[in-house]
Symmetry: C2
Subunit: 249 residues, 2 copies
């Protein structure tokens, strides 16, 4: 459970090509021309790793060498303070980048755990930096991704700092469905890949509160819950819950 997959012989030497990847329109190489894409294929030595459910892609303190693009599967990233507190800082799905936390210190500052069997593209950071110096639009895209990560963090702060339990869970669900929709999945039917406790950690709530809030949403006709299977029947209602939540202000 605590052995790192990066050390296991899961690396596939198979030629990994961005140019032929179905995720290239939402992943790192968005906006690159075909010649640029081919350069990326050739010079950004990209291998793939498999990470089994429950295993870590990397953990806090590991030397930082690569960033990872999720190809298949689903991850969480989390930090733990000395005294055992854990905070989930994000959930990542296909086309999203993991590991940028390590650039600053050259050590990873979070744990990245696969919530289901997953595959990631390994992007050696030195190669990425080197190629960024030559492909203008790659540099731009990388900056955009980091910037969006910062903005995403801000909205989590807004959520944690000023929203009530119901608003947090509603915002979480809508964010999840929007991202799934962008990947061609149903926006109403979701199978959660994470436990109530992990959702709670991300949202700053206890698992019981998450569970209760799901039940309340169901009682109010906003969705159907059955364990990790969620059917959202009233996304507008969920959105209104968020928008109207601070009218008193």
């Amino acid at each position: 459970m605590d052995q790192r997959v990066a050390k296991l012989p899961h690396t596939s030497p198979t030629t990994v090509v961005c140019s032929g990847c179905n995720l290239r329109e939402i992943c790192l190489p968005v906006g690159l021309t075909m010649p640029e894409l081919l350069q990326v294929d050739e010079r950004m030595v990209t291998s793939r790793h498999r990470v089994a459910r429950g295993e870590k892609l990397f953990q806090t303190g590991d030397r930082f060498e690569s960033v990872y693009a999720v190809w298949t599967g689903f991850f969480k990233t989390c930090i733990a303070s000395k005294d055992g507190r854990e905070q989930v800082t994000g959930f990542q799905m296909g086309g999203e980048l993991i590991g940028m936390d390590g650039i600053g210190t050259r050590r990873h500052e979070v744990d990245a755990v696969a919530l289901e069997d997953a595959q990631v593209c390994v992007i050696p950071y030195d190669d990425l930096e080197a190629l960024s110096l030559q492909i203008n639009s790659l540099q731009q895209q990388f900056h955009r991704i980091m910037s969006r990560e910062i903005v995403r963090n801000h909205s989590v702060m807004l959520l944690l700092g000023s929203m009530h339990a119901e608003e947090r869970l509603a915002a979480f669900l809508l964010n999840l469905t929007h991202r799934l929709q962008a990947r061609g999945f149903s926006s109403s039917s979701v199978v959660l890949r994470m436990s109530r406790e992990e959702i709670g950690s991300y949202l700053g709530l206890k698992l019981e509160t998450v569970s209760r809030t799901f039940s309340k949403f169901q009682a109010e006709g906003l969705l159907f819950v059955r364990h990790r299977q969620i059917q959202i029947t009233d996304p507008v209602g969920l959105q209104q819950l968020i928008d109207g939540g601070a009218e008193a202000d």
Copy 2:
């Protein structure tokens, strides 16, 4: 109050040189060699803006054109949701960069407000990108700064998601004093530049709770409070408050 300073004729055409700046060791150009620094001076057209206390350097929705390095003064950045909720996402002091939120969308995603009369170095983003392509260590440094911003956000999430009021305020104060110390100021005597309400917004607490917690800290002999003047007498005690806060886990 809501007019943007960027549009006012405050820009100083005075030659602004990173190579001669007292903050160059903690600001963007950390680690650059002198020749590289001179190139930055020459090609990263850097002017300065004055921003009066209470005025905005930029606000949400403004077109993104530059990032800003705080030279003097003190800022807050915050986001507002439609329904009037406000969340302070950070406080910035000398040597820290503001505006990276705008890279992703080419629009600023936060408001940046001066909490005291301030001066910032304007770093046109196109110039920064262009020069990053030529000065390897500038690119690296910029990536490091964005990465650290992400990591900082993570620790705010930990704070908001799993800490109690006292722990939050203790963590806030220690973070502030550490940053002031790195800039050569006393780490025990602090003049807060922000109101209780702004601290509360950052920490996900109401201003009354912030005030009460300050009073409690004083009663416990951790510090002296007198309005915005803070004397920290027991930083170790504050740190223990944070470290020991979740022993039950």
